[in-house]
């Protein structure tokens, strides 16, 4: 059926999760926590191992400092030094604000754009190319322009963020609206549903699972968008992107790696947040569907 199909297309992880839960071997809460945490820990250990190996086995001591400082140095030289960490955290705070405001705008505009396009085939044919244009536009070239048009501070960065994050919202919402069961549309037609009823009672709720799939992608992109804005604007209050660019030019490798780690962690946190939000919003009817069939 439709919801099963779309769950495979849009978010494979949900069906995986369902299978895992229904496995009869599930024993107790601690076992479940262990199953969730151990793979992540394992990956982190392997990652650190590779990092160490590259630092110590592949590189000479002089090159090591610049190219790949070992993890413990990143920790002691950058992350545990308040004078180094403090500017990074302040920059991160700015990026959190920029990315969340940008994401919110991208979600609202993206969903609205998809709703408008879904109302008529000619609207979709006319507008979708512009959505694609937003996706493929050489962002590096227009970021400086955006700085000129808006400012090099908050607004300009939010605009960059929106441009980078909006396309998955449009594309996924539109896909979700189009994948609503045709029989359900017939039901609405037979009962003389108004356009508004069809939109609010069928298309929009039906599109929610893929809308959330888009949200998870866009949330990650919004973080990237915030950093890209920082990176190219350079001027204004520093964000993590600004710091990255500074660290690169001054060859402060431990700080550079620390800032990359921080921004990655923030990206992961955002992604996890919106994955959780997805299961709260549509998990009850979307995720569970496969188990009982």
């Amino acid at each position: 059926m439709t919801q099963t199909r779309s769950s495979e297309v849009v978010s494979g992880e949900w069906s995986d999760r369902t299978t895992r839960h229904s496995r009869p071997m599930t024993r107790g809460k601690s076992a479940r926590v262990a199953r969730a945490v151990l793979p992540v820990l394992g990956t982190v250990v392997v990652f650190l191992g590779i990092w160490l190996a590259v630092s110590y086995l592949l590189l000479t001591p002089q090159r090591r400092e610049i190219l790949v400082p070992p993890p413990q140095e990143v920790l002691t030289e950058a992350l545990l030094r308040w004078s180094h960490l403090r500017p990074m955290l302040r920059a991160l705070l700015l990026d959190v604000q920029v990315s969340m405001v940008g994401l919110a705008i991208a979600v609202v505009l993206g969903v609205l754009a998809a709703l408008v396009m879904s109302q008529a085939p000619w609207l979709e044919r006319g507008l979708y190319p512009f959505a694609i244009l937003l996706q493929v536009v050489p962002i590096l070239a227009i970021v400086p322009l955006i700085g000129l048009w808006f400012d090099y501070g908050f607004n300009g960065r939010v605009v960059v963020c929106v441009i980078i994050a909006i396309f998955p919202m449009i594309a996924n919402t539109l896909f979700g609206i189009h994948s609503v069961d045709r029989g359900a549309h017939d039901l609405f037609t037979l009962n003389r549903a108004t356009r508004w009823q069809r939109l609010t009672k069928l298309s929009l709720p039906g599109a929610l699972p893929s809308l959330f799939a888009g949200l998870r992608i866009s949330s990650g992109l919004s973080v990237i968008g915030a950093l890209v804005g920082d990176f190219f604007f350079v001027q204004g209050q520093p964000g993590l992107g600004t710091l990255l660019s500074t660290y690169i030019s001054r060859v402060q490798s431990t700080d550079l790696f620390a800032a990359i780690l921080l921004s990655s962690l923030y990206g992961v946190a955002v992604f996890a947040l919106f994955s959780g939000l997805t299961s709260v919003a549509v998990g009850s009817w979307h995720g569970g569907a496969g188990a009982d069939r």
């Binding site: 059926m1 919801q3 069961d181 029989g183 359900a184 017939d186 039901l187 609405f188 037609t189 037979l190 009962n191 003389r192 549903a193 108004t194 009823q197 009672k201 069928l202 709720p205 039906g206 929610l208 549509v282 009850s284 009817w285 979307h286 569970g288 569907a289 188990a291 009982d292 069939r293």
Partner: protein, 286 residues
Amino acid sequence: MSSVQPAVSSPGTARPDISADTGAPAPGAPGAALRFAGVAKRFDTGTLALADVELAVAPGEFVSVVGPSGCGKSTLLRLASGLSAPSAGRIEPRSDRLAYVFQDPTLLPWRSAQANVELVLELNTGAGRLAKPQRRARAARALKTVGLAGFERQLPAHLSGGMRMRVSLARALVLDPDLFLFDEPFGALDEITRLHLQEELQRLFLSRPAGSANSAGACGALFITHSVSEAVFLSDRVLVMSARPGRIVAEIEVPFDRPRRPELRFDPEFGRVAARVSEALTGAHK
């Protein structure tokens, strides 16, 4: 177009005469719940799906249509419901109050059983729109009628296939329609559930005029199926369709009194009627 003439005699009365295949009042008797006159349907692709379809369903009558797959049975139903328009001929009277039961339960997965039934009442923005408490009460009553009391708050994903189809039936009942249209509603169900739901459906159909709130008279039903025994068990008349372009090539009266017991399926007379439908169907394949 083809040498096969529609073998339709006159479609029957509300309660067909036990002895007769013919001699019933003329089609289109005033008050017919549904009537097709010379209906044809050609798709945009050029395929002629239906040709010269004549049929009538009287109020209170249960009519089944059987035919080989791809003969245009579902097209017939889409025409009857107004979901698509005929290329030729007339379809009348098109009742305002019709209930369409789809092949799939077609439930909205984010709505509970109760909310799915309420949906069709919510969509009605006309004069007869009910207030929320009344909608809720009507939906709950419909769910109770199909034996789903206690399951009102369940999401479709947590119901079995048979239960989902019951919700779909409740959603049709809650409209209190003049005409039921069924598009192979039990086709995807297992045999046991299927037989059970056939009996349920008969019970619902028979009890409806009494239980309905505002219906002026008994309602008619047009039931599409590819199961001969299902058609015979449920119907007052069985219409047999030919392969594409679909037309009605035979009409078989089913003489059994209602309510029909499940054991009827093993009655020799039941077998004879079913055999006649099967023969007509075999002819229709050629």
